[in-house]
Symmetry: none
């Protein structure tokens, strides 16, 4: 494996990453082949191994990349908002947009459970950790009702993932306005401090 030093090397590597994203995303990890990836990237077979150790290592790298980018995207969008419910809504919507834009990467993340369980746990625990911290802070501030945080966190993640599957993966679009509307209600109901007071 080589760490590219020239501009050309960097470009080739990038072409491979993009090709891999596409091929993994459409074919799935197992059906994807290195030959196909290099064909899509327009480089020779050997070139793949100049830049990556193996099919699996590239796959994992893509998942880690996705994790990083997604968290960054959400953090950026949520940054200025002080209202917790608004943050949630924006976070969900950012997630859907991100998943749609990087549909292939999103698929890869979902599949990684069946390629490397370790990696999958890492991904979800990382997401959950961030979420948990945010939620705790919001509860402390009184923006969110006091609750069993662990369950709420995974419930919200589950909603995001299933709606992402339902709309982004199946329908190839962001959830429609009425769904987002309802989602807002659901979030508010789950988190709002004054349950029925």
């Amino acid at each position: 494996m080589r760490e590219p030093v020239t501009e050309r090397g960097m470009a080739t590597r990038q072409r491979l990453v993009e090709a891999a994203e596409q091929v993994f995303g459409t074919e799935g990890f197992h059906a994807a082949t290195i030959v196909e990836i290099t064909r899509v990237a327009g480089v020779g077979l050997g070139t793949f191994y100049e830049y990556f150790d193996s099919k699996e290592s590239l796959f994992k790298a893509l998942v880690r990349h996705m994790s990083h980018e997604l968290r960054r995207a959400i953090a950026t969008e949520v940054a200025g908002l002080s209202d917790r419910l608004a943050q949630e809504r924006v976070g969900f919507e950012t997630f859907f947009r991100f998943a749609l834009r990087h549909k292939n990467l999103y698929r890869i993340v979902l599949e990684c459970q069946f390629v490397d369980e370790e990696l999958y746990r890492w991904y979800y625990q990382r997401l959950a950790d961030g979420y948990r911290r945010g939620l705790r802070a919001a509860i402390a501030q009184g923006q969110v009702r006091s609750c069993e945080v662990e369950t709420v966190v995974y419930a919200l993640l589950g909603i995001a993932q299933m709606l992402g599957m339902r709309w982004v993966l199946c329908e190839n679009r962001v959830p429609p306005p009425e769904a987002l509307e309802e989602l807002s209600v659901i979030i508010a109901r789950i988190l709002a401090p004054e349950p029925k007071a």
Copy 2:
């Protein structure tokens, strides 16, 4: 492929099904091999093809079987309950127990998305259809608030799936009481007719 007629044939077939459930569930579809399945079943390699067309066809059969059994289990448990929220709670709990008892089958269902997308959609649409119908009825009866059913259905399925992953697959247990407690609250908040009225 042969449809078993003798008792012995039935038994052999069943041994293969159970072995496949175990092997697919622990190794995953791709890592699983026919040889391993037959070894676990304690039959000769050739015997597999006496009863099943292919590796994939058996896998699909398992998913369909799981779908059937799960729906039946929930239906049975929920049967006598008239309160919709109680039905939900019991349905979720039945699901967790079922997933734990048939952990391998549950894993198989999750993975089938990456083996045969068609099948996966079938599975979820079937689940969602039932759910949707039930929810509509409950809304009509005023047991559940009026809502955008599609979104609510998938949100609830997402919660079930993610909590199943969190507790059954990762911790190898049913969610603990406090989680179930919180889950009840979440369900009630999502569905309860008088939002904050």
Copy 3:
């Protein structure tokens, strides 16, 4: 890898062993390919892996087999002789005949040094151990002069190996009578009890 149970399986395995012996012996370990071996054996590629774990494992098995057979051949031939020098002469000649008959195996043993050093040491230490013991006994009996056994053992092994190379591998024959004659003299001179007394 399969342990053959049927007669047919045994035969196939044997065909592969013989093909491997030939191909390894003529091409050398690295130049030899599995495809070539299976072609020579007249079986499909996959069949190789039904009977052997890998190219290397078969190679090693051949070396171990050769070690066993050679020692057995020499032991058999030397069995009835009481005169130590005669034993040596017969042992050498048996070795040359064995090497000629199993020329390919002999080559394989020589090459194994560069495939698996561990195995090579095992082979030579095993040979040397037997030799050493025999020599010690002969010295105790006064049939061989008192000497630094280690050095004498390896010197004799070296002579055998180099003459084997010179005549068997290069000339494809057992050393000619005059060489064997001279060899007897050399052995006698090295071992004879009355140095120059």
Copy 4:
């Protein structure tokens, strides 16, 4: 391929030769890679092919180099001695020291049999030729008994090689004094003119 003309070119070439000696010697011909050699030499990959035609050609060059140097070393050490047995003893010891100092080169020579049989024969025939000539002269002078020269020559080469393997390659040292002592005796016994007269 380029014949270096500048000082810098000479130095680069030399660095490659030394790196190759090390890598071939420790990894063996087949396991050695050009990339590794250039890495050890601290030059770019392409540079290798500026100075050598191929992996094999460099390997062969090293063998030839070794042959030359070894013969020169022995000739130098033996030069002043008139006693043939002393010459032998010194020749053997020179060989062991040389093999130890150039252990990697020594390994390479042993391996070359499996890379290029032609070359190996050339090496041994060259060694044997010199030896044979020397021995004939010594016999003519009466310093060595009349014998079947061919056999004696290869026997002595065999002893040298096996003891080299035993001590230099395995123990990473020159044979210990007692071994050298015994070796002297063996040589004397093999060559001494008055066998038991």
